[in-house]
């Protein structure tokens, strides 16, 4: 009898194993209901982009009629690809479901990630929030500005997380100026890369303006750190100095001075293509391609309203990094131009990141 039981058991085991062979995907769109807008955040809760999403949607909801709240739906996994793919495949275009995205996801799109099923060049941006960024150095290299760096025979060390992420922008900027660096990648975040410069482990580091002002500016005031260049901000289609950093030259300014011909060069084209989604329009609230015009216009109005609301501007200073919100409708063209990489530029960028900095792209 025992035997019998175990044989039956084995059969049942096999049957059940078969039944459980495929786990259902967790990405089906389930509308939360009347008055609630669902937002897919393809990152874990509590990270930078998630916090931005929670802040901005709460502000939006308080200004929208008929919208009680936004429901944040974190779909992490696959380095933000899982959630973004899920959003695109649900294909909601009436504004009931939106997506929050950030620079690294755009980069995956641009560098051609094989599992990415989305194309930001076709989707509709509703709200953007950009940020500036600063490349700075500590005391170790004995460098005080870009000219020192150009004269230095030995390569300096740049500390970053991964060459195919936001660090690509800094690497391309340095390449544009003809500065060769040794990249040290694998740091866990922007905090550790900053500490590494403070400990004299590495020489160069790249921070967003807000973090730079709070964490690095005190060092600069003590003469223990030096800003080298900033990405600036976009004014119309011109890059100008960041008002928060009036004394730090922009990459474009330096290029004009050091190597005016470089403006036409392929490295500069690549830099421009990556800095635009990487910083000028870093975080965004998105909707699918083919979204109803009424939805797009509504967000355009909301952004205008918020940007003229003094109280909101004051309150949001820290959460938005000190930069105004940008209407997606206004800058859709610029964003798409940046994303549509010339094949030659793409080829150059891929080769540069893989050969010079050991990035692994697929």
């Amino acid at each position: 009898m025992k035997r019998e039981l175990s044989r039956r058991g084995v059969l049942a085991l096999a049957g059940l194993a078969g039944l459980t062979a495929c786990a259902p995907a967790q990405t089906r769109y389930q509308p939360s209901g009347e008055g609630i807008i669902d937002v897919v955040v393809p990152y874990s809760s509590g990270g930078g982009t998630d916090t931005w999403a929670r802040f901005i949607t709460a502000e939006l909801a308080s200004r929208q009629e008929g919208v009680d709240r936004y429901q944040i739906d974190n779909v992490p996994g696959g380095e933000s690809i899982t959630g973004t793919n899920a959003y695109v495949s649900a294909d909601v275009t009436d504004g009931r479901q939106l997506l929050v995205s950030s620079a690294t996801t755009y980069f995956q799109n641009m560098l051609g990630h094989h599992t990415a099923q989305f194309d930001f060049a076709e989707m509709e941006p509703l709200v953007f929030n950009g940020t500036g960024a600063v490349l700075w150095t500590g005391e170790s290299a004995g460098v005080r500005d870009v000219y020192d760096l150009l004269e230095r025979a030995e390569r300096v060390k740049y500390g970053g997380m991964s060459a195919s992420g936001l660090d690509a922008v800094a690497l391309l900027a340095l390449e544009t100026l003809g500065i060769k660096v040794d990249g040290v990648f694998g740091f866990e975040g922007r905090g550790p890369t900053r500490l590494a410069v403070q400990r004299n482990e590495t020489d160069l580091d790249f921070q967003t303006t807000a973090t730079y002002l709070s964490q690095v500016q005190p060092l600069v005031d003590d003469g223990r750190a030096f800003p080298l260049m900033s990405v600036g901000i976009l004014e119309g289609d011109r890059v100008v100095r960041d008002p928060a950093l009036p004394d730090v030259p922009t990459v474009d300014e330096l290029l004009e001075e050091i190597n005016p011909q470089g403006r036409e060069g392929i490295a500069h084209q690549a830099y421009q293509s990556f800095v635009t989604p990487g910083f000028f329009f870093q975080k965004g609230l998105w909707s699918n391609a083919g979204t109803e015009t009424a939805v797009i216009d509504a967000y355009d109005d909301l952004v205008a309203e918020m940007n003229s609301d003094e109280e909101f501007l004051e309150e949001s200073k820290s959460a938005l990094g000190g930069y105004d919100l940008i209407s997606g409708k206004d800058v859709r063209g610029e964003f798409r131009t940046a994303l549509e990489l010339d094949p030659e530029v793409l080829e150059f960028t891929r080769a540069f990141l893989t050969d010079e900095h050991g990035a692994v792209l697929d």
């Binding site: 025992k2 059940l16 259902p24 509590g46 916090t51 696959g78 905090g191 550790p192 900053r194 590495t202």
Partner: protein
């Protein structure tokens, strides 16, 4: 400074502030008890409320939760033998053993007191360190973190007493599993087989709950016993535990110190930190020669308890002063501070000293209140160890799997947990210690990351001569030399005497050991065959780990073969074993049935159907109690989803 400290304290004169702190403490305690959910889970629960509160209220709430999570997660580990959170898996060794001997109350009270003291020491350290934190943190770079991680890896060897080769083998297996996902050095995918779930690793909670929790369920469900075996009075011993904590005050102090140290260094993490604290307590006790570690030594509970809260308070230092989250829950705190316009950084001390002290006071008050409340919570919860296990399992299985699901939010994690559960059970039966697996798993990534950061930045003569690195290297060399000497001396004496706790009640026949070694050989050959596709940097660690694993597996195979010969044959399963296998097969079947139900009907309905059938058929509960039980379970799951913001897996149909 004093002025700022007292003005911060005066904020608590406002009773609403205490209420928010209390809400945080309550959430922290409850989330701590739920298997698999720790500090990050607790902060995530509070996240949606943060945006509607005043900054100081929100901060009080979050600090309150983080300060007590590691006080209450001990309860689950000690009472049920299922990790209350990944870092609480350390309490399965001595804590749970004490509970099985009927000393659960003693273990818990010793733990609560130590964890309260650990939290307070950490917070005093924070206050003292604030003015000098800048040089302290900048003195510790990648080489120091790397050295600490290596020390943690060595710990796996000391926890492998009795079955050293297999213990090392399973820690190498842990390293291998820790490499699944995006490589920290080259940002490429390794061992993901095209699966989106695997790109972010198998998940720490799933690993801890699988290898310990699911394994326990598989073993106990069908045995129909309660956790504590027979009826034992739990009431006694509570006072004894307090005495223990006071008697072993040096262990409390050292544990707290280890905790604060690990907390200050971002990158090592609280799971490895609590095991490091356990390791040092064990090392000190064995030097004095009075250790009963692994067999229910109270110091095995005291040191990691003190450390786990020390880690959280120590981690506040890099979080507040450098804007670098020192522990996972503080990454969330950091985001929240930014929203409120507080920029963590060196300027925080000069501009917002009030806030720093406010956080300090919140942590201190929460630690004390949390420990007191934990006593009240522990008494009713401790009774659970007298309930027949199948009755518990009907509720535990859904909660365990739902917790494991929270990190990846992908149902494929169920497979991982199930498989690791089977592996954990086999380890239990063949006397392979499981702690080394978990430690190696959590340290795999930092080991690789900080190795490359170290060698890319420093020459060997630079980093090996840094004082902290040199000291750790000397300690490790000393430990290895001493154990070799001791091994040579006691070779002829009884060498199997020093067994770890996980002695199984049935002796495994030789062919089972052989089978395990053989699976190891196959696994590592398969792993090595995949290494070729990686980039130059990404290949180094998988290659080294694969070779180490293969060598150990072959060594283990030879040893097992020799043993089989000396025992005259491969052995066979006796009746007791066949009975056990039948029982375990049935448990596995029930788990698969549960998975199938969730895949079909989603978490809530799947769990309800499962629990109904399971309670009636396996636990043989009467109909009315079954209905009440299932009703409560459904309500609990619903509450977790609705109020604790847990995400329920959805199935094909619903």
């Amino acid at each position: 400074m004093l002025e700022a400290a007292f003005s911060a304290l005066s904020q608590f004169a406002d009773p609403t502030m205490l209420i928010y702190l209390g809400v945080g403490v309550a959430v922290g305690l409850v989330i701590g008890v739920i298997p698999g959910l720790g500090g990050t889970g607790a902060v995530a629960v509070l996240l949606p409320f943060v945006f509607v509160l005043e900054p100081s209220q929100a901060i009080a709430m979050i600090i309150g939760a983080v300060a007590v999570v590691h006080t209450s997660d001990v309860i689950t580990s000690v009472v049920l033998g299922i990790p209350g959170s990944a870092s609480a898996s350390v309490f399965l060794l001595d804590g749970h053993t004490m509970a099985k001997e009927g000393n659960g109350g003693r273990a818990l009270s010793a733990s609560f007191i130590s964890s309260m003291i650990g939290g307070l020491i950490g917070i005093v350290a924070l206050t003292v360190v604030v003015p000098i934190a800048q040089p302290v943190v900048t003195a510790f770079g990648s080489p120091e973190i790397f050295a600490l991680v290596v020390m943690g890896i060595f710990l796996t060897a000391t926890l492998s007493k009795g079955n050293v080769v297999k213990g090392l083998l399973i820690s190498v297996f842990g390293l291998a599993l820790g490499m699944i996902g995006v490589s920290p050095v080259s940002a490429e995918y390794r061992f993901t087989f095209g699966s989106e779930y695997l790109t972010e690793g198998i998940g720490l909670v799933a690993a801890a709950l699988g290898i310990f929790g699911v394994a326990e369920i598989i073993d106990l469900v069908a045995q129909k016993k309660s956790v504590a075996g027979e009826k034992i009075k739990l009431g006694s011993g509570w006072r004894q535990g307090i005495t223990d904590a006071l008697r072993y005050k040096s262990d409390v102090l050292r544990g707290s110190a280890v905790g604060v140290g690990v907390g200050i260094l971002p990158g090592v993490g609280s799971t490895a930190g609590s095991w490091l604290a356990y390791g040092q307590a064990q090392a000190f006790a064995s030097r004095r020669g009075d250790g009963r570690f692994g067999k229910g030594d109270p110091r095995g509970v005291i040191a990691p308890s003190a450390a786990s809260n020390g880690i959280e308070s120590g981690a506040l230092i890099p979080t507040l002063l450098f804007g670098v989250p020192g522990a996972a829950p503080f990454a969330l705190l950091l985001g929240i501070l930014l929203i409120f316009g507080v920029q963590p950084g060196p300027t925080l001390i000069t501009q917002d000293l009030d806030l720093v002290y406010f956080i300090v006071w919140s942590f201190a008050i929460a630690s004390v209140v949390g420990a007191a409340l934990a006593f009240f919570m522990a008494r009713p919860l401790a009774k659970l160890s007298h309930v027949r296990f199948p009755i518990l399992a009907a509720g535990l299985i859904p909660i365990l799997f739902m917790s494991g699901f929270q990190e990846p939010l992908d149902l494929h994690v169920f497979y991982t947990m199930f498989l690791l559960g089977i592996i954990g059970w086999i380890c239990k039966m063949t006397n392979i210690p499981r702690a080394p697996f978990l430690i190696a798993y959590v340290l795999a990534e930092p080991l690789e990351r900080y190795y490359f950061l170290t060698v890319n930045v420093f020459t060997p003569s630079e980093w090996l001569t840094r004082p902290f690195v040199a000291v750790i290297a000397l300690v490790l060399v000393g430990v290895v030399a001493m154990s070799v000497i001791r091994y040579v001396r006691t070779r002829n004496a009884e060498s199997q005497a020093m067994q770890m706790s996980e002695l199984s009640d049935l002796k495994a026949p030789p062919f089972m050991d052989l089978g395990v070694s053989l699976v190891g050989v196959v696994f590592f050959i398969a792993m090595l065959s995949l290494v070729g596709g990686f980039s130059d940097n990404g290949r180094v660690f998988p290659l080294v780990v694969g070779i180490m694993g293969l060598v150990l597996a072959v060594l283990s195979l030879v040893r097992d073969a020799l043993r089989a010969r000396s025992e005259g044959g491969l052995g066979r399963l006796d009746a007791a074993w066949r009975e056990r296998l039948n029982v375990v097969g049935m448990s596995a079947l029930w788990l698969l049935a549960f998975m199938a139900l969730v895949f079909l009907f989603g978490m809530l309905i799947g769990s309800v159907i499962f629990a109904l059938v399971f309670l009636l058929v396996v636990a043989r509960l009467k109909v009315l109690p079954t209905l009440i039980y299932v009703g409560c379970l459904a309500a609990a799951l619903y509450a977790l989803v609705e109020f604790a913001m847990l995400v329920p897996p959805s199935g094909y149909l619903i």
